[in-house]
Subunit: 458 residues, 2 copies
């Protein structure tokens, strides 16, 4: 097995140039949830395809009903393992814009970090795959294993296209011996992690319709059901604020309980809740009975509002009784809950608690099954060793509250180990203003992928 010294020396030499290339990638505002950015998402797919082609791979842009998939392959190592790299080139919207210190799509170096939308989630992380493979091919003209790339542009908006594609392909074009995903976090600074459990998601928009027009709250107040009050009542009924427990009937029926070994391993990590509380200025929920902070965020289902809107939202006062109100509410699920079942339970619950005088619509926007992958086979072992090679510390096994919808599909359709090898940190402000990525983690990520491929190549 190669010690990778040749390639690592090249990475060392060329890293400034790799960073510039990442910045170019980040400057493209590939916001997949907003139809106004369709052109930018397309441009971003083109950028990635060009870079993979330039690295020496055969590239194919796969059109879909939504944003295109970028597929690439290098299959010059017959008899060797085949690694499928997955990532996403789309990003979350940047708002609230006024809270960014710099324009969200102008990557800015601040100390050790690169600040911009998509630096960690997922451009910065997944571009480590591209640069590792490019560096190996540049240095040696070949790779120790076969590689395939499948990079999507809809991860932040439901991932329908890739889901359909992977299921239809059924392992033909995508046949491989393992999948590598870099869209998760390290356990903490200096402690790399292999993630084995991802939460699922069920995301809804609820709209409450009352009178057929906005009304004067003086003239009509007390006479009609106010959609804003009704919405708040419906939302408040979803969860017991004191315990955090979801109050939808049947919500916990399919929850797979935490195994004893998991609770023990989580506890052994010595998570510092006091520090977390300090970091968030006291916002950490207290008084929840029965589960630790890590258990709640990693392995218990949740219900959170993500947005709410209705009536007058400007400065000062307006005495309006609005015709409608709406909110975005999402549930993070754990195995074996399914979005379809949760949607059904939510609709039944909402119907039960809706007051007279308003009409409610519950729209299911998107979701994903929860997934738990095996973290004990030879591929996982290679990954944990590669992490140790680069970071000097053995990786730990963790779960996360985030969803990566396609991971479950990969595991189910391709029937191979999925390695969730993340280089981000929990405080990278994913989905928030001033998202960041440690620049050294970008370089170490590239090194880790180089080591992983050399270890897998034997």
């Amino acid at each position: 097995m190669s010690d990778s010294r040749d390639v690592l020396a090249r990475v060392e030499r060329e890293q400034a140039q790799y960073l510039e290339e990442l910045k170019e990638y980040i400057r493209i505002p590939s916001i997949s949830t907003d139809p106004d950015y369709k052109g930018e998402v397309l441009r971003c797919a083109g950028f990635l395809a060009d870079k993979l082609r330039a690295a020496g791979l055969t590239v194919e842009t796969i059109e879909t009903e939504g944003h295109p998939l970028v597929y690439a392959e290098w299959l010059g190592a017959p008899g060797k393992p085949t690694v499928l790299f997955y990532g996403h080139y789309d990003v979350q919207p940047a708002d609230p814009l006024e809270e960014w210190r710099n324009p969200p799509f102008e990557p800015t170096e601040e100390g050790d970090c690169l600040v911009a939308r998509g630096t960690t989630d997922d451009k910065g992380q997944s571009y480590t795959h591209v640069k590792a493979v490019a560096a190996m091919l540049a240095e040696r003209g070949r790779l120790p294993v076969n590689v395939k790339f499948l990079v999507e542009g809809e991860e932040e908006s439901g991932g329908e296209a890739i889901e359909k594609f992977v299921r239809a392909d059924a392992g033909r074009k995508l046949g491989c011996t393992s999948v590598v995903v870099s869209d998760t976090s390290m356990y903490q600074p200096g402690v790399p992690a292999l993630t084995y459990g991802l939460k699922g998601l069920a995301y809804f928009e609820i709209r409450v319709y009352g009178p057929n027009r906005d009304l004067h709250s003086g003239v009509y107040g007390g006479g009609v059901t106010n959609p804003l009050n009704a919405l708040c009542g419906i939302v408040a009924s979803l969860r017991d604020e004191a315990t955090g427990r979801v109050r939808i009937e049947g919500f916990y029926d399919d929850v797979r309980p935490l195994a004893d070994w998991e609770r023990k391993e989580f506890a052994a990590l010595g998570f510092d809740e006091v520090e977390q509380r300090r970091d968030l200025e006291g916002a950490v929920r207290s008084g929840v009975v029965g589960y630790t902070y890590l258990e709640r965020t990693w392995a218990r289902p949740t219900c959170d509002l993500n947005g709410i809107f209705g009536g007058y939202m400007g400065k000062g006062a307006k005495t309006v009784l609005p015709a409608w109100a709406g909110c975005k509410v999402s549930f993070r699920l754990v195995a074996d809950q399914t979005p379809a079942k949760i949607a059904e339970l939510l609709r039944a619950h909402v119907e039960k608690v809706t007051p007279a005088g308003v009409r409610v619509e519950v729209d299911y926007l998107h979701g994903a099954d929860a997934v738990t992958v095996d973290a004990t086979g030879p591929e996982a072992e290679a990954a944990l060793s590669a992490l140790e090679d680069v970071w000097g510390v053995r990786g730990v096994r963790v779960r996360t509250g985030g969803a990566i919808p396609i991971v479950g599909t990969f595991a189910q359709v391709l029937q191979v180990p999925v390695l969730l090898l993340g280089f981000g940190l929990e405080d990278d402000r994913l989905h928030s203003p001033n998202e960041k990525f440690n620049i050294s983690h970008y370089y170490n990520g590239i090194r880790t992928v180089v080591r992983l491929l050399d270890r897998m190549g034997g």
Copy 2:
């Protein structure tokens, strides 16, 4: 007593021109709640001052800390009564803009109506005072009574300046024998009304602050208190949605009960709740025990959200756990509740129901005491007769849920009858898109004021 035939003939002749003048007035977007419109509010005051001056009155623009007051007088009838006309030249914001059929500040004739912001509330209604006085002076060179005008530019944003001015003046400049206000509604089309009860108002903004930054709902969900969920819980605790009863401790302590004669007189009006329900497409609250629709909207205190906002409000989905959320909530009060006491009770309630992990701010934006005026003296009699002269139907005595903060102050400081003589209709869409005013009501309003002054002149 003059039968007013001379002036009414002039009104008949010149009414098209009066309408054009009203349109000019309406075209000025004098939105007092939004600082961005400060210049337009000032321009509107200037327009009104010019018109009063042109009519033959002595005009003074009174600077205040907020928007100016327009004062005017004609005192050429010594020994006769003095009528003080009150109105407001400011208007509500126009949003949601997309729901207007025409630009909100471009008055458009649709059938019998003029459609634009401020047509009824209060430009169209209060301009009847100006045109009645102008027509009388033009026709006769004199008035049957002395008149004063005090028109404010902050009615929709709290009315602080006029409140201060009236109290400081203490009846010197404003000394009069009655006050006339046209900022209420007729009971129904064809049935004019004299309003004797106005609700008070206590308007608040509540903001809930959680984590010090927006967070990823996957990474942090279940771990921190979500300000959006917390806000909905707080808001839902304010009112029992099924009964409409406010659940703040002590809220009903100072409510003056409805007198038997009021309940009887309301019942005799034969309000058609079925028709109201049809008009609003079912939004009328049902199941509230103990009070009829009219009693609830006219004479019982209420709690309504007027706006709510926080997190992601755009298209599609964003899995954010926001740092803060806010809402606008107002209480309509009845005698003898006071905004100060309600603010105190609300703050105590919110403190009690705020969950751990968030911090809440309750800002009192503005308010008004509830007021009930006497509707049985000779001035009221003159008004009811003037209404009958013009509309052919005896006016009825009603209350309203709307607040006109200054009315209570007039009654208290000037110690004279306040006549609430409204020409609007309940379906005029006050504070809503496509606000309208029946053009014939504008003309009839002018005629009513002419008749009232002639009746008062004896």
